[in-house]
Amino acid sequence: MAEAIAKHAYTGGAHAPVKKATFELFARPTAKTGLVGWLTTVDHKKIGMLYGGFAIFFFLVGGLEALLIRTQLIVPNNHFLEAQTYNELFTMHGTTMIFLAVMPLNAAFFNLLIPLQVGARDVAFPRLNSFSLWVWVVGAILLNVGWLSHFVPAWKFGGAPSVGWFGYAPLTSKAFTPQLSTDLWVFGLQVLGLSSIVASLNFIVTIINMRAPGLTMMRLPVFTWMALVTSFLLILALPAIAIALVEVMFDRNFGTNFFEVSGGGQPILWQHLFWVFGHPEVYILILPPMGYVSEILPTFSRKPLFGYPIIVFSGVAIGFIGFGVWSHHMFTTGLGNVATAAFALATMAIAVPTGVKIFNWIGTLWGGQIMTRVPMMFALGFIWMFMLGGFSGIMHSAAPADAQQQDSYFVIAHFHYVLIGGATFALLAAIHYWFPKFFGRMVPEFWGKLSFWLIFIGFNCTFFPMHFLGLNGMPRRTWTYDSNMGWNEGNLVASCGAYLLGLGIFTYFAVLIWSFFKGKVAGNDPWDGRTMEWSIPSPPPEHNFAAIPTVHARDAWWYEKHHQEEIAQERAEHIQAEESHGGIHMPDQSWYPIIAAFGLLIGTYNMAQLHHPVEMFNKVIFATHLPLAITGLCILVTACYLWSLEGPGGYHLHIAPDGKVTESRGDH
């Protein structure tokens, strides 16, 4: 029977009709497909795919911005781009890659995998999850809307944000950047922070509270562990930048003096608040990739992960120490010897748990039957490249050396090694590894490996020369340079490497698109996986598990494959027990999360341009944007109120012994 159920990939046509409740503004949506189905979905898998789709789109946009930057720098004294455009490009490249590409890609995997790895049917708060997604979209719109003013003169934003991704004060003050673009940057980041906090709260509750029977914390897959640590980092680190952004917003709009030297403010406060967030953010970007790699390496080494408890502990230690190293971004500001020495020591200390993890991964490979499939290639590339980035990182931790490297291309080389060689390689490995699970098709090995080699070679050609450029004194964020500086060859190689890297990324995603339509059909478990997501059909049915699994071991699915009779019996009992309690409970879809996010969009978009008159057809309608901002707020509050009245709702799925699934509604 369990086999019959496993074979039946149920996604259904439409939900059971909702009994018209009289206490609602409009009927709850039930469409599972089509536009309404996606806009109102509360299914963690669909939300994960939307996150992933948007993130890949912005990953490509950020990549395009990088290629424009490299084209400008390919030869000395180049005038391919205007200096102002160049500023906008490097600002938006950084902001996009961090907040709109790597973070949401991680969020996509959190959504897709956490419920499956903990053996749950969804996250703890499905509607809140949908809210996080749409709030994230609002943030992405606010950050990028400035580009429009290059194409439509009527949109007077003054271009895209151009204050650098860390927006140092006092450059962000009204005196230096009067354009709206900076206000939109402030609100965009604020909204993205809100989205991340809400999503993280949801994941924390899901991981701690929704674990299947038998799944103790020390049996959690390492990816889920790292997701938990990352979520805690997010909820504790984001408030610092939120307050910093509030202070900039007040300085710009209400005349406060937080960063105004003439009024007694100190611009360095911005640096502290920003990096109190910004350094944990680095680990927010890299801990989930460490999780993917910890899942992929054992699978393709045919061995359990070496030193599981130490890897988990190291991840937690990295998260913890990560809050005590922020001032190493500020060694050249003159903190004083004691503070500098303390932060230098803490920075050296954080390399220890990171090194421990690398040794454990090598220990996993040691003596294993290594299968060099594409995800494994990227994972091995990750270990090597991330280590190189780590080495230059340790060089920065020595404050005197850092004084030479600060704001030079050496720093650019360092963090691209950890963010591309580290985070991105692991993400590309993860996309390749879990693609068969969520789309049911395999990616061809040859093309996958080709894209790997193009990316690997292109990446090293781009960023390795930057170490030397930096040590030769090339400052970051320079629009152009003179031909007698000795930087010509390095820049030429880097730019050519960037085109190769771009070709590799293009190949990678082109192959994915081809595989989506034409790839070989994958079974439930194409890699002989270890974790629970491989025990269910590909793509997973909406209820994930026909029976909530009982977890017997750390590598739960490997255990089940060796104890099939025992598990089959257990599953059948679970299904029966659940059916006797009314069947599998599924949450209803809802309009309110996206309506609330829409209210937030109206509110923040207008709040960002508060003091500007509202014009329509060349006539001033309102003296300020306040009425429109309040309208947005009212939409948000009303939607939240109706959301609370609506309740979680829900319907039940029933699984017949032959694996057929039916739906019902009733008051259980």
């Binding site: 939120a242 209400f254 009024g263 007694g264």
Partner: protein, 275 residues
């Protein structure tokens, strides 16, 4: 509404891995995050306090410490009413829950009214604004953020109060919405105009002049109050009951937290200046 009384365990949720209800865990995690918000704001205030520029406002000449002490006491007492509201719903007593929710909101409004009075007084009498001193910038931003938290708390309690009237059967969304509007108007008028005005009266202003000055908001407030009383008399079965104890408790967590934060702000921003 008491039919399930024996079956609900308010301290253990059998459906979760830890036994802690999901909503409670969510609020605890959120409060951890909120600590960092206030941590950043309080740090900003304290850092700038140590480095005052020439001509900065002198806090002890501006504060009205007696009034702030009184409103601090009021806010602390509101926590007692909040605890009683949670206790009432855990016993399934919806009527008592409503009374205690209204009481908590009323005390919250007294506190907020004190803050509105304080802010107006500082700006118009003591001439300290957001922009004319760094002390003004940090003080108004920090206490204003706290005040916003209290105001959101009152709004959440108001939504909860209105939700207790959601009928078990049948419609009434529009009526419910009018009810919420009445709550917002009544309590809004109370803390923006009425309470600060009454404090003025205590300090010697004329009551009749106060009535003349804010005739329109007071009229709106009275209409709201009458609507509130009328709608509060509704009888009939409601959906809200002991099963919603976790919802009330979750808001209670938030309310107590905002209270505790105020104790820290009162110490770090006000009392510290008198050492």
């Amino acid at each position: 509404m008491n039919s399930h009384a024996a079956t609900i365990d308010h301290h253990h949720d059998a459906t979760t891995a830890t036994g802690i209800p999901n909503k409670k865990l969510l609020w605890w995690a959120f409060l951890a995050s909120d600590c960092m918000f206030f941590g950043a704001l309080i740090s900003t205030h304290l850092v700038y306090r140590l480095n005052p520029p020439p001509g900065n406002a002198v806090p002890t000449q501006i504060f009205n410490i007696e009034l702030t002490s009184f409103s601090t006491f009021i806010l602390l007492m509101s926590s007692l009413l909040m605890a009683l509201a949670v206790n009432a719903i855990q016993r399934g007593n919806v009527r008592s829950t409503r009374t205690m929710l209204l009481g908590t909101m009323f005390f919250g409004c007294l506190f907020l009214g004190g803050q509105v009075f304080e802010f107006t007084h500082f700006v118009y009498v003591k001439k300290m604004t957001l922009s004319n001193s760094i002390f003004g910038s940090t003080f108004f931003t920090l206490t204003g953020t706290h005040g916003t938290h209290v105001a959101i708390g009152v709004l959440l309690l108001g939504m909860m109060y209105v939700r207790t009237f959601k009928p078990a059967q049948g419609g009434g969304l529009l009526l419910n919405f009018v009810h919420l509007l009445a709550v917002c108007v009544t309590f809004g008028v109370a803390f923006i105009w009425f309470v600060p005005g009454m404090i003025e009266v205590v300090y010697g202003a004329s009551f009749s002049e106060l009535l003349r000055e804010h005739a329109i908001p007071f009229a709106a407030g009275i209409v709201g109050l009458i609507a509130l009383i009328a709608l509060g008399r509704t009888r009939g079965a409601v959906e809200f009951g002991e099963k919603n104890a976790i919802d009330v408790e979750a808001i209670g967590l938030y309310w107590h937290f905002v209270d505790i934060v105020w104790i820290i702000i009162f110490t770090a921003v006000y009392l510290l200046e008198y050492l």
